[in-house]
């Protein structure tokens, strides 16, 4: 492992410019900028469409002949007002927030201990426990939700936020543990050894030495876990019945979509507002997010 890390740092500090300066501008436009523009337009168009639909007056929504569909004349806040004041939407937002924060905090706490134990206490069988954690990460929710529904029901937490707070860690803990193991591995052993020599207990080492050094890892894992729980759908759909306990994705889909007449404006406003919190969080912590995503793959 140390050898590969060395080569990695070497290649990262390799300040060679690359050879792209050899390509002349017309070629760069055709080979790079044009495809990139197409990619970006395609990847972002649904968001644009979502946003523009959310502020379009109903009269323009389907009248493509008199108004250009790509633009809006006289934007309206009616859909958003309807969403915020005449539906349970604010309640769903609050539920999603509570569930995501609780599940994330719970998973982070459990994962810190687990990752530290696997990576640094090195008890007998710690390597196989690490492998098991990785395998647990690969168990998808879509094969677990039926038996979990039975279990949740037996525990008497069916149709409550607790059902989600307790089941989300099933996919969060393996992920966070795996990520934090990688971070703990990069903290030098010597720091721990000198703390041990100074008489620190394992607990003190974890709290005073390891955790402060692993803050970037904690942020990465936390952000990613929060996003995963915010986006979770199948458990929330299965375990929650009553409108006041629904999360945003489930609420928007099951309560704002009714009958054959879709209120596209408020539906898109709901989608937009449900996405905003994670997008804002993401925009502040892009690098942490990317490092946790690629870290989970690379480790």
């Amino acid at each position: 492992m140390s050898i590969s890390e060395q080569t990695n740092t070497q290649t990262l500090t390799d300040d060679a410019q690359g050879m792209s300066y050899l390509n002349r501008l017309p070629r760069r436009i055709v080979v790079l900028y044009l495809p990139l523009a197409v990619f970006i337009i395609v990847l972002l168009f649904p968001f644009y469409w979502m946003a523009i639909t959310a502020v379009k007056p109903n009269s323009q929504l389907t009248d493509y002949n008199n108004y250009s569909p790509f633009w809006v004349v006289g934007p309206t806040l009616d859909h958003i007002k309807y969403l915020l004041f005449e539906t349970s939407y604010p309640g769903w937002l609050w539920n999603t927030l509570v569930v995501s924060v609780c599940a994330t905090v719970l998973s982070l706490a459990a994962s810190v201990f687990a990752a530290y134990a696997i990576e640094r206490i090195r008890f007998k069988g710690s390597r196989s426990v690490g492998l098991l954690i990785f395998l647990a990460y690969l168990v998808p929710p879509s094969i677990l939700f039926i038996p979990l529904a039975v279990i949740v029901f037996k525990f008497g937490i069916y149709d409550s936020k607790l059902a989600l707070i307790f089941t989300y860690p099933t996919f969060l803990i393996p992920f966070c543990t795996w990520l934090l193991m990688g971070y703990f591995r990069s903290i030098p052993f010597e720091l721990e050894e000198s703390a041990l020599v100074d008489g620190a207990s394992r607990w003190q080492i974890l709290v005073r030495v390891i955790l402060p050094l692993a803050v970037p890892g904690l942020i990465s894992a936390g952000i990613f876990a929060f996003t995963l729980s915010w986006n979770e759908f199948i458990y929330a759909l299965t375990f929650i019945q009553s409108s006041e306990n629904k999360t945003v994705p489930v609420g928007v889909l099951t309560e704002l979509v009714r009958g054959d007449v879709f209120e596209w404006g408020s539906l898109m406003a709901g989608a937009l507002f449900g996405s905003l919190p994670v997008v804002i969080l993401y925009s502040f912590f892009v690098d942490y997010y990317v490092s946790s995503m690629t870290g989970a793959v690379k480790e």
Binding site: I3, P46, L148, T227, N231
Partner: protein
């Protein structure tokens, strides 16, 4: 030190025992995973052998659920759809994702900005972006149909979600849209660890751009490709949300995946046993992709000169 030092008490001795300490530290995570992951996994397998319904514990009925599924054309349609969906979507995600990663690996202005906005489809909740696709795929007011008509390419609006093959293509397109950022950004991270000097040396030796890609980039990237694609296949194979939002398995069960069929039979249909059996039938495929990932990882360590 004198001999009067007291021997450590039993408690202190225990806290110095690594096995005990490790066990205590692992306890919270282990309790969660055993209760809500391992136990349900076992329960799911058991439920597959019972005729459990919602509100009623089932009795053991052996392989009856699986026998019923084997002669169920809807189930086989779901298997066919799942394999097709996974295969086509993964190939497209890989091809387009690698292409985007190669573009982003060049010297571009505002590179980190592009990288940040490209990940948006992956960050936003799938259900919510799927709703946007639902509106884009609307039978009457689809913006795609409208644009194509204006361009003179088609005469009547495309029935995106109403025709089985169109519906399959539409959900695959939405899945690819959501999956490209993950593949691209992960592969980009891999590309950035390939030293530029290799490319320079190769081009001094007269290698063309294609040869440099084929004999430097691709081999150096293979280990990461293996892992990224395993994850991608895993997520695609077990996908639920997109289908549930866009088609709910329709028209006439033509776009059911195994996950959505399992949900439909198990939860609204109430046949927990049958739903669980469908979910269990997904496991062999998952094992296949996990093994694939495992050997991919092994090979990577060996390539980098690490041990084990």
């Amino acid at each position: 030190m004198t001999a009067t030092t007291k021997p450590p008490s039993a408690l202190v001795a225990l806290t110095r025992n690594n096995t005990f300490l490790g066990f205590m530290f692992l306890l919270p995570a282990a309790v969660f995973l055993l209760c809500f992951l391992t136990y349900p996994l076992g329960l799911g397998v058991w439920l597959g052998f019972t005729d459990a319904k919602i509100g009623r514990d089932g009795v053991f009925i052996g392989l009856d659920n699986y026998k019923a599924l084997a002669s169920d054309s809807v189930f086989w349609m779901a298997v066919y759809n799942t394999v097709l969906y996974t295969f086509i979507a993964s190939v497209l995600k890989f091809g387009l994702g690698l292409w985007l990663a190669l573009i982003l690996n060049e010297n571009l202005p505002f590179k980190s900005f592009f990288r940040a906005i490209i990940l948006l489809p992956w960050v936003v909740p799938t259900v919510l972006s799927a709703l946007a696709f639902w509106w884009i795929y609307d039978a009457q007011f689809s913006i795609l149909s409208w644009s194509l008509i204006k361009l003179g390419l088609i005469d009547t609006p495309i029935n995106f979600l109403g025709d089985p093959n169109n519906a399959r293509a539409s959900v695959i397109a939405a899945n690819v849209w959501r999956g490209i950022p993950f593949v691209a950004i992960s592969l980009l991270a891999g590309l950035q660890t390939i030293p530029q000097s290799l490319h320079e040396a190769a081009s001094l030796d007269g290698a063309t751009g294609w040869q440099r890609f084929r004999f430097i980039t691709l081999p150096m990237l293979t280990p990461i490709i293996a892992v990224v694609m395993t994850f991608s296949v895993l997520f695609t194979f077990t996908d639920f949300q997109l289908i549930y939002v866009l088609t709910k398995g329709g028209p006439v069960n033509a776009t059911h995946l195994m996950a959505t069929l399992s949900f439909q039979r198990g939860i609204p249909g109430g046949q927990l046993g049958e739903g669980a059996a469908i979910a269990v039938a997904m496991i062999p495929f998952l094992l296949a992709s996990i093994l694939f990932s495992f050997f991919g990882l092994q090979r990577r360590k060996w390539q980098q000169g690490g041990q084990d």
